[in-house]
Symmetry: C2
Subunit: 385 residues, 2 copies
Amino acid sequence: MNYFSSDFKLGILGGGQLGKMLLYETRKLDIYTAVLDPSEQAPCKIACNDFELGDLMDYDTVYNFGLKVDVLTIEIENVNVDALKALEKKGKKVYPSSITLKKIQNKAEQKLFYTDNNIPTADFSRFAYADELLTAIKNESIEFPFVWKSARFGYDGQGVKVIRTYSDLEGLPSGECIAEKMIPFKNELAVIVARDVDGNVKTYPVVEMEFHPEANQVEYVICPARIDESVAKKAQLIALKVSQAFEHVGLLAVEMFQTQDDDILVNEVAPRPHNSGHYSIEASYTNQFEQHLRAILGLPLGDTQSKVAGIMVNLVGEENHTGAVVYKNIEKIMAMQGVTPHIYGKKETRPFRKMGHVTIVNEDIAKARSIAEDVKNSIRVISDS
Amino acid sequence: MNYFSSDFKLGILGGGQLGKMLLYETRKLDIYTAVLDPSEQAPCKIACNDFELGDLMDYDTVYNFGLKVDVLTIEIENVNVDALKALEKKGKKVYPSSITLKKIQNKAEQKLFYTDNNIPTADFSRFAYADELLTAIKNESIEFPFVWKSARFGYDGQGVKVIRTYSDLEGLPSGECIAEKMIPFKNELAVIVARDVDGNVKTYPVVEMEFHPEANQVEYVICPARIDESVAKKAQLIALKVSQAFEHVGLLAVEMFQTQDDDILVNEVAPRPHNSGHYSIEASYTNQFEQHLRAILGLPLGDTQSKVAGIMVNLVGEENHTGAVVYKNIEKIMAMQGVTPHIYGKKETRPFRKMGHVTIVNEDIAKARSIAEDVKNSIRVISDS
């Protein structure tokens, strides 16, 4: 197939920041793109060839959009899976497949999938309704503390809560959920696996999420993770096992815990380019977005090694700031060595809204870490009033 | 100034492949862009915010376009300079300035500028008409062989011819020209200098053009140049001197000859991102396009050092092929280590048309050079029929 002609069309469900970064790479390879997104302000609106406004959860919208393209991919998981299934039946190439996506969309099913496939994951119980969870607590079949996760539509920390007492249960949604054993982990790690249509795979190096000591928030994504080689190897092998089990095509970002005993437990996966791989734009021989395209278009997978160490800092809206966004001190961080800001192009900031990210690259990972801290302490995402 | 809001507009004159690569970086920084180009098929048409169809040499078109933006830059030199001058008087920021551009647009003036500023360059004579050149040859005030260059609108090897005998003079345009002494150079080198509004400068490493031994065509642009450190230093210092003389803002690509005696002679300059800097997208801490933006927008200049060695191969249309383009064996080269194709998005190929480029990066420059040769021997830009 000649992807480098306008006869070929790649469809992308979702027009957010991940899609935007994917579009850089489609431009580089001159691939014709169509994007479907519900927002007029979608960052993807420019840089794609065709932009269509529409609901990603609506069967007809997704189905009709999919009919117009040759290969369909996603930049967000919450899309109408039945429409994807129907498109596959029509012979359209859909990556990730409707089967993979269906499993991943429901966190309870995702967890069951791990246990069914002998993939290590934290112990959990599944509940069809929050009421059943309450009964289980009363029966002492589960104990405080545990992690509550909504089965559906968890995204970016939404739908996840640590439950330590009865009062933490107040206000939880009533729907399907899981209660997961709390893992006092040493590190949170992630591995991105690229897999093509023929089942060829390549794994990116293990990255490490460094948490703020007090706020319990990820501050830095660091590549490579500062862990023992043996643990890194184990994490990569488990990520490959997950990849094999899903038989996905494209990228699969596998988030994992490294326990106090250096066991690896799979937390969750995303079948697409992922925040934990943003460092790759500056640090890797083949960045994750180009790699996703290579995988879904049947092109050879690229080199996943790094040229230099990379650290990523998320740019999130500051508390108490809502309105037209200002990136205060951006000039200051751009004067620092090896610092590249990525501004997603959202016009309005809100507390904790993901507005962009900053990558810091350096031959010396310790130097990169030190500059990353300077970046973190300098840049502020605030409103202009 | 807050560049990261839609109040600010960057204007780009020209919508070709250089503009397209510049647009990736404007997207990364979420800078609002307007592009003026005479072609409906301009590669920049998508990925800019506003696209305007118009003649870059027409005073009114350029002037009216410039009025709508805050900062105006170019991706091609052949634009109406008088309009730029008028825009500067109106208080618009124009980088490169109309003065710099005027000097560069005329190759005779450019050469005189070098001699006026004690910048080493090959000896030359200037002629208002080709007839005067003929008289000079007959008078023996200039001798065969020499290099004829049209003073105006030289671009990509157009308007340059080696004259060895009277018959080579046949069919030359009649206008203003120069006759330049032929330099039996050891190497053709280039240095890109970034200079901001305050006169801060940063130079990229010296790159080397490697010629095909028989065809006398540049085959590879290699960074860093495989030359003595002392020669590299000299080339960079001369590039800085040229930069200082022009007082340009933005990038200045300085093309130079390394003579048999290791002297450096300036050949010509381009006040914009340049083919000799394409390697920087994959190899440099700050690529040339981001650097150009940093310079013209008053942001701090980025690190010009390389992460890894980089080699660039131009993708040009093969002889005897005209029509809808096919990139034969692109899958094959994408399977090679550290290889990234850049397809400019021109739908039709023609013999020698610039259709894209390929970058090869590697820690080891000899390895990169070897892979570059494999790329060159594999990829073919042909028509589909």
